[in-house]
């Protein structure tokens, strides 16, 4: 109960736009939960509702079993990075963290600790307006970590980070989960979370599309194809088709379904067809995700050709 985020039956409308529609999921401690969906899918809205910034029309969102608004020192319970740009440009980075620390009775040394942790110690006295997007992300992450909370939420934390920063944040997220914290990370790109997330909550158009583990999602997207590269594609196709397989050819590569991999090798070798490569086709998480969300994206574009995406992204930023 303590280190969880629990969203139940959440529904949120902005005017006539339904941003979140009957969304339920749980974020468990000790793992990184990826919150994936195209732009405008309702990820940021959900996070705002979790923080009690926006009031849902229906449903509840609980952190550690409680409503966020009832927390006395919320930064010690939940750390959140919502919008890295939401810093007054005239305020020094360190001052930004200082007032946050004061508000939750956190010691001042904690400010310097998190600045060190995110690698901003040397530029802590610079005004936030002079920061690059990547530095602001790091500052936002520092703010989230300030209260050493057991629950963490990051909305698109990879945005604007350089490759080194991307590697760093992956390590950070894994490390936080490894310490037993519940970590919710949103992204609209599956590739960003591929190697990081243990659990995935996939949303599109405000609805839950999948609530699954990474390995289950991969398995469901795999269809047992075997890729064969050969110098004699015509002969191979005849042999494999006769053996009961289905073959699709493209660019000198044959995609075979209906036959096991070792069967394919034995068959072709026995008939003297030269094989340069045989591989199990592995659907990437990206492909699985695209397949899942394609409907949601197309649905949106078809229904609201004029406002579709831009309208949805306005909601994201609102």
């Amino acid at each position: 109960m303590r280190n969880t985020i629990e969203v139940r039956g959440l529904r949120k409308r902005y005017g006539r736009t339904v941003a979140v529609d009957d969304l339920s999921f749980r974020v468990e401690p000790g793992q990184v939960t990826g919150f994936i969906g195209p732009n405008g899918a309702g990820k940021s809205t959900t996070m705002r509702v979790i923080l009690d910034l926006d009031a849902p029309n229906e449903g509840t969102a609980l952190v550690g079993g409680r409503r966020y608004r009832t927390l006395r020192t919320p930064l010690r319970e939940v750390g959140a990075l919502l919008d890295a740009g939401a810093i007054h440009p005239g305020r020094r980075a360190r001052d930004h963290l200082l007032w946050l620390a004061y508000s939750n009775s956190l010691p001042r040394r904690r400010v310097d600790e998190v600045l060190d942790l995110v690698g901003l110690a040397s530029v802590a006295r610079r005004r936030a307006g002079k920061y690059s997007l990547g530095m602001r992300q790091r500052l936002g992450i520092a703010a989230a970590l300030l209260g050493d909370p057991p629950i963490l939420m990051f909305d698109e934390p990879v945005n604007g980070l350089d490759p080194e920063g991307v590697v760093w944040i992956r390590g950070l997220l894994r490390g936080l989960a490894g310490e037993g914290r519940a970590v919710l990370v949103s992204s609209h790109l599956m590739s960003e979370l591929e190697d990081t997330a243990d659990h995935l909550v996939v949303v599109g158009r405000g609805r839950l599309i999948a609530d699954t583990t990474v390995s289950d999602l991969l398995a469901s997207a795999s269809d047992g194809r075997i890729l064969v590269r050969t110098a004699q594609p015509a002969d191979a196709t005849t042999l494999l088709t006769n053996a009961g397989g289905t073959v699709h050819a493209s660019d000198g590569t044959l995609a075979v379904t209906g036959l096991p991999a070792d069967g394919v090798i034995t068959l072709l070798t026995r008939h003297g067809v030269p094989v340069s490569e045989v591989a199990q086709a592995r659907a990437s998480l990206e492909q699985a995700y695209l397949a899942l969300t394609r409907h949601a994206v197309e649905f949106g574009a078809a229904l609201e050709p004029n406002v579709g995406h831009s309208g949805a992204s306005t909601v994201e930023e609102a």
Binding site: L53, D54, Y68, I87, H88, R91, S103
Partner: protein, 469 residues
């Protein structure tokens, strides 16, 4: 709550804009106050004593007394005067001592345009007696002519052997204030007093002269407009004198003396508040709107999700900062203005020197800071409500400034009501003198501003609780 106050204070203090806004506000507030008192032509020259009245007189040599009963007195003005007088000579401005009845202020013993001693609160019919003994003149009053009580004694040094004594009647001017189209005017309305005297007696009796009527008026000053001699006269029937007259015998020190255009030099010294309040409005609006503009409000509410304390902390910090900057600013403005006024000849008796330790001055100076603090919180609440400085700033400035710009274009009554009903009423706390254009009591005015602030805060809290951040 304490950590929240600390956080909000740290937020405000960590922005250069806050420091700039407050420093600039402070400096301009003092400078504008100094400029107003050094450039305005409000104060005029020191007026001459008023000495216009109807005089029924006869000479009296050496020690003696004059006695009369005032049987009736018309209520032409609270400060109409009817009584007995001992005067150095018949010329206007000469020295005197007089004992009189007034319709509004009882029995008074007055002398030399500066001394005023209150007797009983009663009116006509009443016996009055002035007794001269050398330079001392003592006034007595009585309801029956036999039992006398002393009102007081005044000393007129080097009074001539022979003086003029007798009955006098005066009734001062009423004033009518008109305003409109940005201009103010003061209309003068003469009032005519009338009183009936009997048992008129002078001792020692000198039968060689009788009673003479004279309308005492000031000698015309060349180039100055001369007031038309108003009505006045005397009739005597069987020792009963009916005297009518207008004017007054008074100057600074005599409460009936009244300058309709007298300034309130304390509030004049604090006029820089108009710049100061702009700075505080900017402070208040930006403390709220900047959070919405940058998205900081979400960090604020995430760090402290309970809305009531968030708004309370913001209001307290903004109020505290505005007060802490406003108090030295208004104190400095007052202290800078006083020597400037002195150098310009704005001094006693027309304008007594004012000091910070006087209660009403303290109220004005500290109250100015309090009004600035309330206004800053009002601006904060509107900023929280409208969320954008581009909307909140013009609105708050309009609410505060429009009544001050539009007011003088309206009639005096409409102007007063406009002041009473808008947050501008709070500036009444600066006033220490009741004037014709005084709209509202100082504390009540501050109360109006406080009520607006409380209302705005309440609506802002409702909005903060029920609207998405």
């Amino acid at each position: 709550m304490r950590q929240l106050l600390r956080a909000e204070l740290a937020k405000l203090a960590s922005l250069r804009g806050t420091v700039w806004c407050l420093s600039l506000g402070f400096i301009l507030m003092v400078l504008l106050s100094a400029w107003v008192v050094s450039s305005s032509k409000f104060y005029g020259d020191l007026p001459k004593p008023a000495d216009t009245f109807s005089f029924v007189h006869r000479p009296m040599s050496g020690d003696g007394s004059v006695v009369a009963r005032v049987t009736t007195q018309d209520d032409s003005h609270p400060w109409a005067k009817a009584g007995v007088i001992v005067k150095e000579s018949l010329s206007s401005g000469s020295r005197y001592a007089a004992l009189m009845l007034t319709p509004g202020h009882g029995v008074r013993l007055e002398a030399d345009f500066t001394t005023d001693i209150a007797g009983s609160a009663g009116g006509a019919p009443r016996w009055l007696r002035l007794t001269r003994s050398g330079g001392s003149i003592t006034g007595y009053e009585s309801t029956d002519g036999t039992t006398w009580s002393q009102v007081g004694t005044v000393t007129l040094d080097a009074l001539p052997w022979t003086v003029e004594v007798g009955l006098f009647v005066s009734s001062p001017l009423d004033f009518e204030y008109v305003q409109g189209g940005g201009a103010q005017g003061i209309g003068i309305i003469p009032t005519t007093g009338r009183a009936v005297f009997d048992h008129v007696n002078v001792e020692p009796t000198d039968s060689s002269t009788g009673w003479t009527y004279l309308k005492v008026v000031p000698t015309p000053t060349p180039g100055q407009p001369q007031m038309r001699p108003g009505p006045g006269g005397m009739t005597e029937v069987d020792g009963s004198f009916t005297v009518t007259g207008e004017g007054d015998i008074a100057w600074y020190g005599i409460p009936s003396f009244f300058r309709p255009d007298a300034r309130d030099i304390v509030s004049d010294s604090l006029q820089g508040v108009h710049i100061g309040l702009l700075a505080m409005i900017v402070l208040g609006v930006l403390a709220a709107a900047a959070e919405y503009k940058t998205g900081m409000i979400r960090a604020t509410l995430a760090a402290y999700p309970r809305r009531g304390p968030v708004l309370a902390a913001k209001a307290l910090v903004v109020a505290g900062v505005a007060f802490v900057v406003g108090l030295p600013a208004s104190t400095a403005a007052f202290l800078v203005a006083q020597p400037i006024l002195r150098d310009r000849g704005v001094r006693p008796p027309a304008y007594p020197y004012r000091s910070l330790i006087e209660v009403d001055v303290l109220r004005a100076v500290v109250g100015t800071a309090a009004a600035l603090a309330l206004l800053a919180v009002f601006a904060l609440a509107i900023g929280m409500l409208l969320r954008r400085s581009s909307r909140a700033l013009p609105l708050v400035i309009a609410v505060v400034m429009v009544p001050q710009i539009v007011g003088p274009l309206l009639s005096l009554d409409a102007d007063k009501w406009l002041t009473r009903l808008t947050p501008t009423a709070g500036l009444a706390i600066q006033e220490t003198t009741e004037r014709f254009d005084t709209a509202i009591d100082p504390w009540a005015g501050l109360g109006v501003l406080a009520a607006y602030t409380a209302l705005a805060l309440t609506i802002a809290l409702w909005s903060l609780r029920h609207r998405d951040a």
